[in-house]
């Protein structure tokens, strides 16, 4: 019972935010939920499989650009169709990229993912005619469950229907990920993380499991990336830049990669703390860099490690 209490309370809190919080604070919940989805996937790779991707922004970019292309260029406005397409394209890109990357571990895996991320970034940046270059492309307001909500003001749309849509996606994504990490598949991933040789000896095909984890995490990143688009109404190449990949890992570490809900907490703290710091001084990188250094040195298991050090 007790282990459901924390997440259940958090969900109730998320559900009542639009009713009690000022509109601006509610708007910040949208990137939080999108990042939470992205990081749940990233942590399957980092926390559960032991592979640090420094190029995950690639898949965030794939998801976001899929949505922007569909809404802006092809007139496909249904968010369900967009999410489906983002997931498919994320998997489609991740399949070959993952097949090459999972042949390596540790620093070489990180470098290869970084290189792939930069390939996508430079492609998006340079092919101006197709992608709008550094200005990016607009992400038109999508239909939710087939309902056209273009009549209501933007803030009402984002803080109302779109908000609860994101909550639903986040809950579904969390439930799926919970099933994945509790399944025999998830146990195999942890075995691979802790002792790849032993896993191999037990008959687990290490590269195939790593590849599966890679593709699943890419699908999550693409879904979250697509959700990032509507609040800003625009997607641009910085979504796929290597520092964005670094920030994703930062959020995961901040919340705690050893805990299932760590990345979700990390996304929440990162978004709101960044907003708070930027309202005081423009130098959020200085403060966040110091924070990251402190976490790495003194609290490598992150906030969850400080709150619930049980596992």
């Amino acid at each position: 019972m007790k282990r459901w209490l924390g997440p259940a309370l958090a969900l109730v809190a998320i559900l009542i935010v639009p009713l009690v919080a000022p509109p601006y604070q509610t708007l910040l919940m949208l990137p939080f939920m999108a990042y939470a989805v992205i990081l749940l996937g990233l942590n399957l790779l980092f926390g559960y499989t032991g592979l640090l991707s420094f190029g995950h922004a690639l898949f965030v970019g794939v998801g976001a650009y899929t949505g922007a292309f569909l809404t802006h260029r092809f007139g496909v406005r249904s968010l369900e169709a967009i999410l489906l397409a983002a997931a498919l394209l994320g998997a489609l890109v991740a399949a070959p990229v993952g097949a090459l990357c999972v042949r390596y571990v540790k620093i070489y895996f990180g470098m290869l993912t970084l290189a792939f991320g930069m390939v996508f970034y430079t492609f998006v940046l340079k092919f101006y005619a197709l992608t709008g270059g550094d200005e990016g492309i607009p992400f038109a307001r999508p239909l939710l469950l087939g309902r056209d909500l273009s009549a209501i003001p933007k803030t009402d749309y984002l803080n109302g229907p779109y908000y609860y849509y994101c909550v639903a996606v986040l809950v579904l994504a969390t439930a799926c990920m919970w099933r994945i990490v509790r399944s025999p598949f998830g146990l195999c991933l942890r075995t691979i993380r802790d002792n790849p040789l032993k896993a191999e000896a037990l008959g687990i095909s290490v590269p195939r499991y790593r590849w599966c984890a890679f593709v699943i995490s890419a699908v999550y990143a693409a879904l979250g990336g697509a959700l990032l688009g509507p609040p800003t109404g625009n997607v641009d190449p910085t979504l796929a830049y290597w520092t964005h990949s670094g920030n994703l890992v930062f959020m995961t570490l901040l919340g705690g990669f050893t805990h299932f809900y760590g990345p979700v907490l990390g996304a929440f703290v990162f978004i709101y703390l960044q907003d708070f710091v930027m309202s005081l001084v423009p130098y959020w990188r200085l403060i966040f860099g110091g924070l990251l250094a402190l976490i790495v040195i003194f609290a490598p298991t992150g906030l969850m490690g400080l709150i619930a050090p049980s596992r």
């Binding site: 540790k106 620093i107 792939f116 390939v119 492609f123 520092t243 990188r285 860099g289």
Partner: protein, 292 residues
């Protein structure tokens, strides 16, 4: 025309070599992939601009500006001591993931330190680039300053080779790179060695930044942009190998220059595709002998 492009590429390569060499010594000995190398490069560039501005304002002869520039670039390398003693020494026994993230923290910190100190607008040294004039080489026009930097970079490459193979410090470095426990058991003070190696790596980066500055403007994002190029250099050349840094820098510098003039769209795309090709086909790079 072709020669102009090539010479531009070689100039860029000689700057890239300095930063990549800094990356290599640190990775070779300390096993840390230092993402902050690019930030040190940016720091060197800004300090270089300030040093030259101070030098000009006290009325130093323009043709000697390269002296305060290079000296400032080298001196600011002492931030390496602060970073090593203040941050890195806590994580030597940790997983390399955490070491990488700590250097990423440093990237964030230094970017804002630069903004705080020098502001957000680009800085440059006005009109000193062509103070040594230009020469015509086989029909191409080259600023003499570029040739000086290329020569200096070559000299540093030779000097590093001499340091690594002919001096006691170099032998200790190679021994520690090979087997740090054995080196420590034989009496090498690893703490002191790490301070020196990291400072050497930092100074190479800051010097690279200072030397590039007469030819371009200093911008706060220049560090995070250069680090991915330096990353390409060390992957193509092979992690930890000094010869690899040299060849890798030439490959990246020249290819980039050629691509810019022929097909600007594929400029860096080409470089990253080569990086992926090398990582997939020959993960140790062209000259990598590292057992990773």
């Amino acid at each position: 025309m072709i020669l102009n492009v090539l010479l531009g590429g070689v100039f860029h390569a000689s700057i890239l070599f300095l930063v990549a060499a800094g990356l290599q010594v640190v990775f070779g000995v300390q096993r840390i992939f230092n993402l902050a190398c690019g930030s040190f490069y940016a720091l060197g560039a800004y300090v270089g601009v300030s040093a030259v501005a101070a030098y000009t304002s006290v009325g130093g002869p323009p043709w000697l500006f390269i002296v305060p520039l290079a000296v400032a670039g080298l001196l600011v390398g002492v931030v390496g001591v602060v970073v090593e003693r203040g941050l890195l020494r806590f994580v030597y026994d940790r997983d390399e993931t955490f070491q990488l993230l700590l250097t990423f923290a440093l990237v964030l910190i230094l970017e804002d330190v630069i903004r705080l100190t020098w502001g957000a607008s680009p800085r440059s040294t006005s009109g000193l680039y062509l103070v040594y004039g230009q020469v015509r080489v086989l029909g191409a026009t080259v600023p003499v300053y570029n040739l000086i930097v290329v020569a200096a970079s070559l000299l540093i490459a030779v000097g590093l080779g001499w340091l690594l193979t002919r001096t006691a410090f170099g032998r200790i470095m190679r021994a520690a790179a090979d087997n740090r426990e054995m080196a420590a058991a034989l009496g090498v003070d690893l703490r002191w060695l790490y301070v020196r190696v990291f400072t050497l790596g930092t100074a190479l980066g800051t010097l690279g930044g200072a030397l590039v500055i007469p030819a371009t403007a200093a911008m706060s994002e220049m560090g995070i942009e250069l680090i991915v190029e330096a990353f390409a250099v060390v992957v193509i050349g092979g992690l930890g190998s000094m010869r690899g840094a040299f060849v890798g820098a030439l490959v990246v510098g020249i290819l980039r220059a050629v691509a810019i003039s022929v097909l600007p769209e594929i400029e860096m795309l080409l470089i990253y595709l080569i990086v992926i090709g090398v990582l997939v086909l020959r993960p140790r790079g062209l000259f990598g002998a590292v057992t990773a």
